[in-house]
């Protein structure tokens, strides 16, 4: 008896222990052998939405899991997803709206060739019908993130940007977004900026970008802070966060203690194995989280470079 209460004590201490190294989030339930990405939480942290995709990312589904008695439940397909390719879910800071990117049709039944940004709002009986936002174009709009005053940040490869894809911002006017402006330098550069997260206070911006001189691999994550009203120089989040794989879909928890992101690091990037793998060991590496299909990672915000 004494032993088991000691054990529980140790466990509860470890939950609050510092996470100074990346850890796979929800291993076996949320992060699995499949391609998971883009987690977002309700403000109380008890409901998570995230994405599970085909390995080639041609079809994506938004899933939901609840934290019950300290465990994440087996995911369910979100009530508005599972028919067309949906991705990049992101809660509004008050948790009443969920923004996402989708190839669902605005009219008719054929999927669109490009992604647009949609929003669902909480009603007394679950999520309402998805609503298409007005600042969408025939180009890609992805990776929505919203500040407390409703300003929407997103990525788009629309014509007129500084490179392949840029970060844009649109103000909330009468419940919709019409005009969007390019966030400009130093956030945008000649290479593509494809994912963005902004804090509710609009004072910190994290983006996923490709092809910058200080990149570690494919997509890397970068941070900028608002200083005297302007975005500061963009800094690479370093080799704890960034890997040889894709590092993307940044999120900061509501209490600003934890950083979440998606990474394809894992089995396959190493030059060689430390020792010869048996078939069972090989299958174990291929058929669990960390197999270099996307997983969701977490780390303390304090581990990010300042």
């Amino acid at each position: 008896m004494l032993k088991s209460s000691l054990f529980i004590l140790v466990l509860s201490v470890s939950v609050h222990a510092q996470l100074s190294e990346p850890r796979i989030f929800g291993e076996g339930v949320i992060s699995t052998r499949d391609y998971e990405s883009s987690i977002t939480f309700t403000p109380d942290g008890k409901v998570a939405y995230f994405v599970k995709s085909t390995p080639d990312l041609s079809f994506r589904v938004i899933l939901m899991s609840r934290l019950e008695k300290g465990k994440w439940t087996t995911p369910e397909v979100a009530s508005f997803s599972g028919e067309y390719s949906d991705s990049d879910p992101c809660f509004s800071p008050d948790g009443t709206k969920l923004y996402f990117a989708s190839r669902r049709p605005v009219e008719g039944t054929a999927p669109k060739a490009d992604n647009d940004i949609w929003v669902v709002e909480k009603t007394s009986s679950g999520w309402g019908a998805p609503r298409h936002l007005s600042m969408n174009t025939a180009s890609q709009e992805t990776s929505p993130a919203v500040t407390a005053d409703g300003t929407l940040y997103f990525s788009s490869n629309r014509p007129g940007g500084k490179g392949a894809a840029d970060i844009y911002r649109a103000k909330l006017v009468n419940g919709d977004y019409t005009a969007a402006e390019n966030v400009g330098e130093p956030i945008n550069a000649p290479g593509p900026e494809v994912q963005v997260f902004v804090t509710p206070e609009d004072d910190m911006l994290i983006l996923a970008a490709l092809g910058r001189p200080d990149g570690q691999g494919s997509l890397d994550l970068y941070l900028s802070r608002r200083v005297d009203g302007a975005w500061s120089k963009v800094i690479n989040l370093g080799n704890k966060i960034n890997s040889q794989g894709v590092d993307s879909a940044p999120r900061i928890s509501a209490d600003r203690h934890t950083f979440y992101w998606t990474s394809t690091r894992g089995y396959g990037f190493e030059e060689q194995q430390a020792k010869r793998l048996s078939y069972k060991e090989l299958s174990g590496k291929l058929q669990g989280a960390g197999n270099s299909l996307g997983d969701i990672y977490q780390i303390d915000m304090s581990a990010l470079p300042h």
């Binding site: 052998r33 390995p55 080639d56 599972g82 190839r103 999927p111 396959g268 078939y279 090989l282 291929l286």
Partner: protein, 321 residues
């Protein structure tokens, strides 16, 4: 037509006891996933090579991003393919592209394993062609094929014609661009200086993974270039009067919007094997997926990671002169 037990018996009887395990009861005029669930699985399976009797299959089981490759083997026993095992020499370094000679006496493959003690601790080793001699039921230790076939660059996908000429891909300097296909003739037991197969086959883009027919009348190869259907595609060229015809795409049955790899004609000459990352997936669903529907799609062959496919060789309509 419903198959009565009698007809099923009749169909079985059509399979002669000496037919290789990969022989199909019915004509295979459309691509079929090979040995679904054992060989072709939810993992990345590709690059098959059979022993001459067809009863042992070597193939690759790779990381989902196709960065790390391991050669595994399966044996046809008691009428089914056994759960694979890692080839005894594989599982630590990147090993790929198995090829068994038609007499079954040699096993060729590529690897970035260290060539000597000096390169064992280094990083960034290039891929070379290696071979093993048959030794009892197994294979003798690997030997590096050496220069001039191997270079300081990378070599891929050795296949060997009846007269010993070795065909392979390489990114050595002096090609038409990126990677090209080369051949080296065997003269007095030694490989001669490799010859670039030229503009009918190679381009400024990627060409590697050649399959040479035993009589060298045709070459099927993998290329990633703008005249493809997406990813890498398989192309064919004929050797006529000592020169190669302009390569043509093998078409929509063989190639897809995914990537195709590893062309191979079965030891009995009746079937064409290759690998593909094609999916059954579409960009929308006829009905909303449940979580179980989704897992079922993601954790079976056809999930977009590589699988091994088989078709009647006659479906390729190969017409050497």
């Amino acid at each position: 037509m419903r198959l009565t037990p009698l007809i099923i018996c009749f169909l079985c009887a059509c399979l002669w006891p000496n037919d290789p395990p990969y022989a199909s009861k019915q004509p295979l005029t459309e691509p079929a996933i090979f040995a679904s669930g054992v060989i072709s699985t939810a993992d990345f399976d590709s690059h098959p090579a059979f022993t001459p009797d067809g009863k042992t299959l070597y193939f690759l089981r790779s990381s989902p991003t196709f960065n790390f490759w391991t050669i595994v083997e399966s044996h046809f026993e008691n009428n089914h393919w056994s759960t694979p095992e890692v080839l005894p020499i594989s599982g630590q370094y990147r090993d790929a592209d198995p090829f068994i000679t038609r007499d079954g006496k040699r096993f060729y493959f590529i690897s970035d394993r260290p060539k000597d003690a000096a390169s064992a601790s280094g990083t960034g080793r290039s891929l070379d062609i290696w071979f093993m001699e048959r030794s009892g039921n197994g294979w003798a230790p690997p030997q590096n094929v050496g220069e001039p076939v191997n270079s300081a660059g990378n070599e891929w996908y050795p296949t060997i014609a009846q007269d010993g000429t070795i065909y392979f891909g390489s990114d050595r300097p002096g090609g038409k661009g990126r990677t090209d296909i080369y051949r080296s003739r065997l003269v007095d037991g030694k490989y001669t200086e490799p010859e670039n197969l030229g503009d009918a086959i190679n381009s400024q883009f990627e060409e590697f993974e050649p399959y040479i027919s035993p009589d060298q009348k045709y070459l099927i190869f993998m290329a990633q270039r703008p005249d493809g259907r997406g990813g890498s595609d398989l192309f064919i060229s004929y050797q006529r009067d000592g020169s190669w015809t302009k390569a043509t795409n093998l078409g929509d049955k063989i190639n897809s919007s995914g990537s195709e790899y590893s062309p191979l004609v079965s030891p009995d000459g009746k079937y064409f094997f290759w690998s593909s990352t094609r999916t059954a997936a579409s960009t929308s669903q006829t009905k909303r997926l449940t979580y179980d529907d989704l897992l079922n799609r993601l954790r079976n062959p056809g999930n977009g990671l590589g699988d091994i496919y088989q078709i009647d060789l006659s479906a390729l309509n190969i017409q050497p002169q």
